[in-house]
């Protein structure tokens, strides 16, 4: 690289004409002189009527010179000074012509506005209302496509259903195994601390068995599936939305609701109860491992206590809960996916909001169902 000559601007005045001479290399990383001195000479009171440029001593130049020139020209024009660019090199003139070829469209520029907190609150409220409305609409459309399914008129590929079942069933087993086994372990340890005080270690089996079947099995399976499958649904449908694939399906005469959403919801609702059952068993195994190895209870004793403590009804409660969670996860995943905007970042937003929505729904539904069971005495 050759050394740079420092850049500067020389101003000279002849009658009512101001000549700005550019000297040196005007390239991006150069120390640039302050333009304010030149600008102030163009002000009203100075009597300057014309601005010309001289570039005999100009070395290399790039966008830096262009931005400074544009500042001078714009400022001069605003002050009513006649700006003469004809003495500039041809390349610069050509670029200037390009810059001023398309005048700024009126109203194109946007002012950055910041809402007051009251406005922000109002907008958030309206947004929430709109969200709730969309949700109701989505459920309505879902119900319609379910009736179509019942009447045997829903159009979707059976293969998609099987693929979705495989994806949210067998493929999810390893993670469900790990998490529920560990939750069983944790439940056993937490219970053991208190029960060991009374020498009642054998009741750890009751605690783990009831805890897993009525509550934790379903909840853990649901949270895993919200992160795994709910997010995947939102991302898949969102990407399809970005690529116009959903529009393409519509023009081919498929209802997106039936073709894309129905098999996904069906798959999750069918699989979730089975996953829940599996998670229950894994949790009980986890509890057994802790109890048998640390708390002086034999495996047979543990299994016997478990068998007497839990009834079919406990399993059923967990399974019903999990089916409800399955509907909620699939609904929020698919809804967010279908509502997705048309850009890459919108897909990210849709995925995040699908997971958040489904976890909120899961917890609320869980509390309601538990409350109901408590009132009904089951």
């Amino acid at each position: 690289m050759t050394d740079k000559t420092p850049c500067s601007i020389n101003v000279s005045r002849k009658d009512n004409t101001l000549e700005a001479a550019f000297v040196g290399d005007w390239v991006l990383d150069a120390e640039i002189p302050a333009l304010e001195a030149v600008l102030s000479q163009l002000d009203d009171g100075t009597g300057i009527k014309r601005l010309v440029f001289a570039t005999q001593a100009l070395g290399r130049w790039d966008s830096l010179l262009m931005t400074e020139l544009i500042r001078l020209i714009d400022y001069g024009a605003a002050q009513g000074v006649q700006v003469d660019t004809t003495s500039l090199p041809e390349g610069i003139q050509g670029l200037l012509r390009l810059v001023y070829a398309v005048p700024e469209r009126v109203g194109a520029r946007r002012k950055e506005t910041r809402d007051s907190w009251l406005e922000a609150l109002g907008k958030a409220g309206l947004h929430l209302f709109k969200d709730a409305q969309d949700f109701v609409v989505f459920i309505g459309e879902m119900a319609l496509s379910f009736t179509a399914l019942m009447r045997g008129k829903a159009h979707f590929r059976r293969m998609d259903l099987w693929l979705n079942i495989q994806d949210c069933g067998p493929s999810a087993l390893p993670i469900v195994t790990l998490i529920s086994l560990l939750v069983g372990l944790i439940l056993a340890f937490v219970g053991a601390v208190q029960l060991a005080l009374f020498g009642a270690q054998v009741y750890i089996a009751n605690l783990v068995g009831l805890g897993m079947t009525r509550e934790m099995g379903a909840l853990m399976a649901a949270i895993i599936m919200a992160g795994r499958t709910g997010a995947a649904y939102a991302a898949q449908l969102g990407t399809m939305q970005v690529n116009n694939e959903i529009d393409a399906l519509k023009t081919m005469g498929f209802e997106a609701m039936e073709f894309l959403v129905l098999p996904r919801i069906l798959a999750l609702v069918l699989i979730m109860p089975l996953l829940c059952l599996y998670a229950d068993l894994m949790g009980i195994v986890g509890g057994a491992i802790v109890t048998v190895s640390f708390f002086d209870v034999s495996l047979l004793q543990y299994l016997d206590r478990t068998a007497t403590a839990i009834h079919l009804m406990d399993f059923m409660i967990g399974i019903v809960k999990c089916a409800v969670f399955g509907v909620l996860i699939a609904l929020s995943g698919c809804m967010r996916g279908m509502q997705c905007g048309r850009s890459a970042s919108a897909v990210g937003d849709a995925t995040t909001s699908a997971v958040v929505t489904s976890i909120v729904f899961i917890v609320i539904a869980d509390s309601l169902i538990t409350l109901m069971c408590n009132r009904l005495g089951i």
């Binding site: 991006l28 931005t67 670029l95 390009l98 001023y100 070829a101 946007r110 950055e112």
Partner: protein, 271 residues
Amino acid sequence: MTTPCLTIDNMTLAYGDFIIQRDLNFTINRGDIFVVMGVSGCGKSTLLMNLIGLMRPAKGDVFYGGESLWQAEPDARKRILQRTGVLFQGGALLSSMTLGENVALPLTEHTRLSPQRIRELVAYKLALVGLAGFEGYYPAELSGGMQKRAGLARAMALDPEILFFDEPSAGLDPVSAKLLDDLIRSLRDHLGATIVLVTHELASILAIGTNSAFLDAETKTMIASGDPKRLLAESRDPKVIRFLTREDSANRHKPIQSNPILTHHQEPCDL
């Protein structure tokens, strides 16, 4: 005006064992508008990926000036590539950023300019491509042609010496495509940049190309090169003729002026 700017040296492109193009040798001179043309699937875009450092050629090398791109250390390669700008087919603007932020991104990351100066530079680049005042818009709010022009503004952010265009006029209407062609040509004229176009858009090729390489999908190598207008008039290769005349070789020797889109380009560009 014949300093070599980019030299493709004995290059072979392949995906694994599947060879796309072999033994490519050509030179792109400073100030050229160089067109890489050929039928769909002949390896034009793969060649582009090899030129801009996204994919390593199976054999051979690319020289920027005298510097080898693929034998250079990763840091040196990054420095070489900073002298280039690429306009991707769909514009490839980052959708989570506004136009202003998109154009400012290379400036904020690769230079130490003040925010005020970067704002001015961004305004200037956007004005150059006819998008003055659109800083606050997100790419999704713009039409395809505007996205493409904004992509061009971003490609030019660091005043590159070489600008690569991947299918610049794909998906544009004839009028916008012509405006983009004019813009490319005047940028070349005024910025003194070298332009490499990868395209199969006949109108653009004949209108603005000053030199070219014709890649053939069957023999898997370059079968013709030179000024596209001269190729159209003089080439003897049936494939080249078929491509440049859209299989309408009877009309080959009619003057180009008969094509209304092309007539305009015969005159010096007047803005």
